[in-house]
């Protein structure tokens, strides 16, 4: 039963990803795209965790964790770039 | 700026790190405790220079209560925002609100701003340290003052109690 639920959840997440990608492509402004990218990272975490559960494998945890870290660093850096141009001052 | 070089510069941080390590290795054994203690001691020691004025945790219990309250608020408000998002967006009343800060320490202000952002419906958009103002963007707010009051009582005061000497 759980397998089907997980698959269903993955389906839901796929829709979420799809919408996010639409925003990413549509913009219209840079902050919109960055926000969409950030959301995509979050969605990726969700998908990875679902995949881990689907495969009953614990090996995906680190990937999820790392996506969280990297998504943050990326978003902050691009935002800083928009604000100040120079990300390391 | 205190630049003590002690054997345990940030005890709370060390404890925090210890917990994190145990979470990471996902097991509780003597070996993992030992390594957790070791890293919990080493890493704050190695990075203490990055914490020029560490926050002083005065009332851990209040903090715990605060955290639980915030978590509850997050869950509750999430549903509310979900409803708003799924509903007609034409009726929404967004607003930029200038929130007068009572907190004075950087770290605590950051915590407050985070808390505000984490609870649905509000985002800390900017901080003005000179004027002691916090710019909040609210998703849908009818009464701005009510929102300010809520934040003040539910979040700012407790944080002040935990980390800062009460200025009043």
């Amino acid at each position: 039963m759980l397998d089907y639920v997980i698959l269903l959840c993955m389906g839901i997440m796929s829709v979420a990803v799809f919408l996010t990608v639409l925003r990413l492509l549509r913009g219209p402004d840079l902050p919109d795209r960055i926000l969409a990218l950030d959301t995509l990272y979050i969605n990726a975490i969700a998908l990875i965790m679902l995949l881990g559960m689907f495969l009953a494998s614990d090996l995906f945890f680190e990937a999820a964790l790392l996506i969280a870290v990297m998504g943050f660093v990326g978003t902050v850096a691009v935002a800083k770039h928009l604000l100040r141009g120079d990300i390391i001052e | 700026m205190s630049r003590r070089l002690t054997w345990l510069p940030h005890p709370w941080l060390s404890l925090f790190m210890l917990l994190i390590w145990l979470l990471l290795v996902n097991e509780l054994s003597f070996a993992s405790l030992l390594s957790a203690a070791l890293l919990g001691w080493l890493i704050p020691l190695a990075t203490h220079r990055f914490w020029p004025d560490p926050p002083h945790l005065r009332h851990p219990y209040v903090l715990l209560r605060f955290v639980l309250r915030v978590l509850g608020d997050i869950v509750q408000a999430n549903f509310e925002v979900a409803r708003l998002i799924l509903g007609r967006s034409g009726n929404l009343q967004p607003a930029f609100i200038e929130y007068p800060l009572e907190l004075r320490q950087d770290f605590t202000i950051s915590l407050l701003a985070s808390t505000i952002s984490l609870t649905p419906g509000t985002v800390s958009a900017d901080i003005d340290q000179k004027r002691h103002l916090l710019l909040i963007h609210a998703f849908n707010v009818a009464d701005e003052q009510a929102l300010i009051d809520t934040i003040k009582t539910r979040y700012e005061r407790p944080l002040q109690e935990v980390f800062e000497c009460s200025t009043t």
Binding site: L2, A46, L83 | L23, I97, D126
Partner: protein, 111 residues
């Protein structure tokens, strides 16, 4: 039949999480201005991933390999970082002087 009961909880949590993630994405997709869109993902995904994390914890803890709590770290991380991301994005948006919905009261600040 405790096992089934656990499965039920996990399933509910996973569905909850996924749906909130979806709602966040919907918000991102349909809300009229950037500042409002900012609320979608940063809110909904905290609970979305949060629920997934709890679901996963329950899932792995009941597999027989001992309690699994490390997923909590993901949520911890997101809780620390999401407000900063949102803050930085809001500042960037204000610096870029993005259009905002006409119904918005108050003013963004000069950067």
């Amino acid at each position: 039949m405790t096992f089934d009961w656990v499965e039920l909880v996990v399933a509910a949590l996973l569905l909850l999480g996924s749906l909130f993630a979806l709602i966040g994405a919907i918000g991102l997709f349909k809300l009229p201005d950037f500042y409002m869109r900012l609320h979608g993902p940063t809110k909904a995904t905290t609970l979305g991933v949060g629920a997934l994390v709890v679901g996963s914890m329950v899932f792995f803890s009941t597999r027989g390999d001992g309690i699994s709590l490390h997923e909590l770290l993901i949520t911890l991380f997101l809780f620390i970082t999401a407000p900063v991301s949102a803050h930085m994005l809001a500042k960037a948006a204000m610096q870029q002087r993005l259009r905002r919905s006409r119904r918005t009261r108050g003013q963004p600040w000069q950067q």
